[in-house]
């Protein structure tokens, strides 16, 4: 599903975010990208949805080298990739329903599809009945669930999650991980950047560890070291 070949990404001559990264992620896998802040985890996620382009190497997503992809095709790539963020990135002026519907609306889904899919995904993330609330009326965990619902409502092939439990207490974080695990079991590939040791150890999924832009470990059913 995702393949990186000798990927190097620099932000300046002094800062190399990733150096010669290579790995494959199969369809339906759940992968943790771990490492300290600034080790290259978020850069890796940004390369996967073409928010960034590498200086060297190739990033393959669903069989296509996305570095060579024309800009006009990038939106279509992104419709197959859901994004989850540490700060949720919800729109404060829109209700829960509208925040999720927005993701479908901007890719041109008709109204009847939106009316059908939004309540279904809200049930999936455990927020049925809260669709008229605004983000500030929800807890952090609930807001992250809305963010996950928005990322998953279009049933993408891949979910990219950047520190989704970073702002949450341990119990709420565990709930979010259970939800991501359920989504992963539907066949969606999940790639999650985190430095939450407890969660990585609890999930026992594949772990790719970064240190100053270099992959230092790639372990199936790994733990945080």
């Amino acid at each position: 599903m995702i393949r990186l070949e000798n990927v190097t990404k620099s932000y300046s001559t002094e800062v190399t975010a990733l150096r010669d990264a290579n790995f494959d992620i199969a369809k339906g896998e759940f992968v943790f990208l771990v490492g300290p802040s600034g080790s290259g985890k978020s850069t890796m996620l940004r390369l996967m949805n073409r928010q960034e382009r590498p200086e060297k190497g190739a990033v393959w997503v669903a069989g296509r080298n996305i570095n060579d992809m024309p800009d006009s095709k990038v939106p279509h790539l992104r419709r197959n990739i859901g994004n989850i963020f540490q700060d949720y990135k919800l729109l404060a002026g829109k209700t829960v329903f509208e925040n999720i519907a927005f993701a479908l609306e901007v890719i041109g889904k008709p109204r009847h599809v939106i009316r059908q899919q939004v309540p279904a995904v809200l049930e999936l993330v455990g927020l049925g009945g809260k669709q008229e609330r605004f983000p500030h009326q929800l807890s952090g965990g609930e807001q992250q669930r809305v963010s996950i619902a928005r990322a998953f409502v279009n049933r993408p092939l891949i979910l990219l999650a950047d520190e989704p439990t970073g702002n949450l207490d341990p119990a709420t974080g565990e709930g979010i991980m259970r939800l991501l695990d359920r989504i992963n079991k539907t066949g969606t590939t999940v790639v999650m950047a985190t430095h939450d040791q407890r969660i990585v150890n609890m999930m026992r999924k594949r772990v790719i560890q970064f240190d100053r832009g270099v992959i230092v470990r790639d372990q199936a059913r790994g733990v945080y070291e």
Binding site: P75, H76, L77, R78, L91, F102, V106, P110
Partner: protein
């Protein structure tokens, strides 16, 4: 498709209402600049009408020496008619006819008339082909003054010159001013769209990440700019029609010899100008917003 259209208009309206003061500023600037632009065209047209009115009666008067014999008069007529490329008509007014004109002109000054009548010249009324060219009038005057038995030649070239100068003076200055203001309104619309996009950068970021195309994101902003340009043009057009009507009805009350009676535009020209103002307003709005929307999409 319907949901996209609905979305586009809803977002455009939301953006307009969020930036109300900037939107108002952009619309007012468009209104003023387009009003001036349309006003320039109407002023030029009014000068043209005035010039047409003046030059409609333009005749060169070629005075023939008193007592010139008919064959000498005929020679002058032939010389005038030989200029067929520059002279439209030649009418002869003999000394009796000339005395009749003098009697009308000097009706209130019998002493001057009495002094004039014994030596009254006959005259030719010559209509030139191009009545608005003072250079041509001057050249014909020099040419005809050299003919034998011609006493003098009078032309209205100074009046034509003055009106042409006035037309150029006002026309160029108001045109430059309106072009500068049009540029300012495009810049203001550009800035409004830029601010609107900055205010909604979080939404735009989400839109890009969920796979909205650049055109889908741009379109509401471009429509917003387009609408600002069109509303500005419509307001400018309304103001222009009002001012033109007001001017026309005011000038109609002036006396006939005021020289301003024809300085009006009463045919369908103002509506034609308004049509182009709306097109220009839409163009300025679309260009300003399209540039901003393309430039600031990477927020």
């Amino acid at each position: 498709m319907i949901s996209r259209i609905r979305y586009t208009f809803r977002e455009m309206w939301a953006s307009l209402s969020r930036n109300l003061t900037l939107t108002a500023a952009a619309v007012i600037t468009s209104t003023v600049s387009l009003f001036l632009f349309g006003g320039t065209l109407l002023i030029q047209r009014a000068f043209d009408n005035q010039l047409k009115k003046w030059t409609g009666g333009v005749e060169m008067i070629v005075y023939v020496n008193h007592g010139a014999t008919p064959d000498k008069v005929e020679l002058i007529r032939k010389a005038l008619l030989a200029e067929s490329s520059t002279v439209e008509t030649v009418d002869y007014c003999d000394e009796t006819c000339s005395a009749g004109i003098a009697a009308t002109l000097f009706a209130t000054d019998p002493a001057a008339l009495e002094q004039l009548l014994p030596n009254i010249p006959s005259l030719f009324k010559v209509k030139p082909v191009d009545k608005s060219s003072s250079a041509l009038l001057r050249s014909l005057k020099t040419q005809f003054e050299g003919l034998p038995n011609v006493h003098s030649v009078e032309t209205p070239d100074e009046a034509v010159d003055l009106l042409s100068q006035l037309k150029d003076f006002f026309g160029v200055r108001t045109l430059v001013l309106s072009v500068v203001l049009l540029g300012a309104s495009a810049l203001l619309i550009w800035n409004t769209i830029r601010t609107a996009m900055f205010a909604r950068r979080r939404e735009i970021e989400v839109m890009k990440l969920v796979g909205a195309t650049n055109w889908f994101i741009r379109l509401p902003f471009m429509l917003e700019g387009l609408l600002q340009g069109i509303v500005g043009a419509a307001m400018g057009s309304a103001a222009l029609l009002f001012v033109n009507d007001n001017w026309t009805s005011g000038v109609r009350g002036f006396p006939d010899n005021s020289g301003l009676k024809s300085f009006v535009v009463t045919d369908g020209f103002p509506l034609w100008v308004c049509f182009w103002m709306v097109i220009l307003g839409a163009f300025v709005g679309a260009v300003g917003s399209a540039t901003a929307a393309s430039r600031f999409l990477d927020v």
